[in-house]
Amino acid sequence: MTTATLSPIPLSKAASFEAQAEKAGARRNRLLSLPALIIIGIFGVLPLIIICVYSFLVAAPYGGVQWQFSTDAYLNFLFQRDIFDDTLQFTPDFLIIYLRSFLFAVVTTIICLLLGFPTAYFMATRSPAQRNWWVLLITIPFWSNLLVRTLAIMFIIRDEGLINNALIGLGVIDKPITMLYTNFAIQLGLLYAFLPFMVLPLYSSLEKLDFRLIEAAYDLYATRRQVLWRVIIPLSKPGIIAGCLLVFIPALGAYVTPLILGGGVHLMIGDLIAQQFGSGRNWPLGCAQALILMAAVLVALFFYVRNTSGKLQHG
């Protein structure tokens, strides 16, 4: 009986067995990713679809939606319907909030990069044992909630806060400098909240940098400035891109910081969207605003990644 099965299997047949085994392996691998896919599907994709659908419906008077198709939410983003004659009038209010949010996010990203790069470079050039301590120090802010930390900033910069009291006590000023509920306060809060997100990816990039390359550049007549621009920055490009994305995107959608430090006067996109679901009772408008933000981020991202990868490679 067994002798019959010992005859050599034709090559084509063997190949097909192999292909089958490979397919089975691929199927197993897909199975492994299933739990993650289910979570992403239920808590990521499904809500996005709901938001998309809701944005094309009509707002119910006390929140929620009425199942009736309408593009009003998108029209309302730029125009206001006159109560009396039903004509559309251009109102840039939302647009201004969007642009201001973009400006805040851009300024936050740039300042975080300027502050974060030397910090990360300093950390990466310490001894390995010291480096771990520096990473630990950078992550200390994460040990407490952002809300708590933002409230702490509020207590530091308010009129009777730490800074003003100290300055008045020292006789530098007579009247407190108003810092809370200003653009400055929001900017400060954003910088504080997102700086670690810039430092950590920059650090992980710089830590991998081969410092012998820097010596090689010095040896080949590059000055300190040239070494920075021609060797260090191009080689830490992945960290720069990751850090900028990790700061820019959440900064754009920041909610807690502008709410507390801006005092509800200086709105950012996050607060605006939240308002539509709360006191505004206009869910479709909130959904539309969220989707417009998402689209804007995607477009900005596309150009950013395309530009930086090109420039840094040839620069």
Partner: protein, 367 residues
């Protein structure tokens, strides 16, 4: 003004380099002085930790000496940063820029010097030809082999036409065959460019085959400077003899002494006259060194300078090593015989043999 204008490319004068502070101080270089001539292939040879790489880094400018001067064509360069020294380095790890092509790597130094574009391109083309890498000039450095990276590193360091080229164990990462090839290639490049090469290695064979002169270093000091033949045939110290090539060490006692020649008695009561290096006054217990190929094996123990029992025969193809257990005890004495088709005498392990060597084959050395 330099003492010998135009003669010495590099002069190291009383250079000390101390790392660390307080109790953790380590002197990597302990008051080293050496002159390296123009157009010379000069090798710093020594075991790891002997200070050879430290000396190279001081010349390159990556570190600054604790004391002493380093003169380049008579001018003290010790305080200058690396980018102000007309000296380039080939790194052990090559340190090629991974974000640039082969040609961009080679042109980097010239670009930093602010040379016009046309000149850079011409020089890069010339360098690519010199190291036979024209076909791969547009490749990224991650897309070429180790040997090719080595060539690019050489071309990059040679492109700005440095006064001195420093090479920090550049061949250590290559496999044996490629290393042999690159040794010849390096020698050719040095001849063609006429640039002074300072080569750091721990490989004595590499040092002997490539160098015009060698400085043997140990524990932060230079022990001997000389041509490969000087160093091999007339080692100044026991360390040098031990580090370079294989050597037999024979313990003995000095019985009488003339200028330059000492008579030494072995444990077996045999005596021999042997030379000793200048500035050394042998007396009492000393060590005699004999190169394995400078000794001969004779079947009659009485005819040898010293006698023993053949304990092992190791065949190496080109030659055969005979291990002899000496009558007076101590380490085995090794005799190396070149194999020829007509080797008449054959020896067998366990046989009593004599070891014969000429007076000038043996040297009395400082321990």
């Amino acid at each position: 003004m330099p003492e010998h204008p135009g003669k010495n490319a590099i002069e190291v004068r009383g250079v000390r380099k101390v790392f660390g502070t307080g109790e953790n101080q380590v002197a990597a270089l302990d008051t080293v002085s050496v002159s390296i001539r123009e157009n010379e292939f000069f090798t710093l040879l020594g075991p790891s930790g002997c200070g050879k790489t430290t000396l190279l880094r001081l010349i390159a400018g990556f570190d600054f000496p604790t004391a002493g001067e380093i003169l380049l064509h008579g001018q003290d360069i010790a305080p200058l940063p690396p980018f102000k020294r007309p000296v380039n380095t080939v790194f052990q790890s090559y340190a090629l820029f991974p974000h640039m092509t082969v040609a961009q790597n080679i042109g980097f130094g010239l670009e930093m010097l602010g040379k016009p574009k046309a000149e850079i391109e011409a020089r890069v083309a010339q360098m690519l030809k010199l190291v036979k890498m024209e076909a791969l000039k547009a490749r990224r450095t991650s897309q070429i082999s180790g040997g090719q990276q080595q060539r690019v590193a050489l071309a990059r360091a040679l492109a700005p036409q440095p006064k001195v080229l420093l090479l920090d164990e550049p061949l250590s990462a290559l496999d044996y065959k490629l290393r042999k090839e690159m040794q010849i290639e390096l020698k050719r490049l040095q001849n063609e460019t006429g640039i002074t090469f300072i080569f750091v290695t721990h490989d004595q064979e590499e040092a002997l085959t490539m160098s015009d002169r060698i400085a043997v270093m140990s524990a932060g000091k230079i022990l001997q400077v000389g041509t490969p033949r000087d160093i091999y045939d007339r080692p100044a110290e026991r360390f040098v003899a031990d580090f370079i090539g294989e050597t037999n060490f024979l313990p003995g006692t000095v019985v009488s002494k003339k200028p330059g020649v000492a008579t030494v008695k072995f444990a077996s009561n045999a005596t021999i006259s042997a030379g000793y290096p200048e500035g050394f006054d042998p007396s009492g217990e000393v060590t005699l060194v004999v190169r394995p190929e400078h000794a001969d094996l004779v079947p009659d123990p009485a005819k040898g300078t010293i006698g023993g029992t053949l304990s092992n025969i190791v065949y190496f193809g080109t030659d055969t090593h005979y291990h002899v257990k000496l009558d007076g005890g101590g380490e085995d004495f090794i005799v190396r015989h070149q194999n020829s088709r007509s080797s008449a005498v054959t020896f067998e392990t366990g046989a009593k043999v004599g070891i014969q060597f000429e007076e000038d084959a043996a040297r009395v050395l400082k321990d």
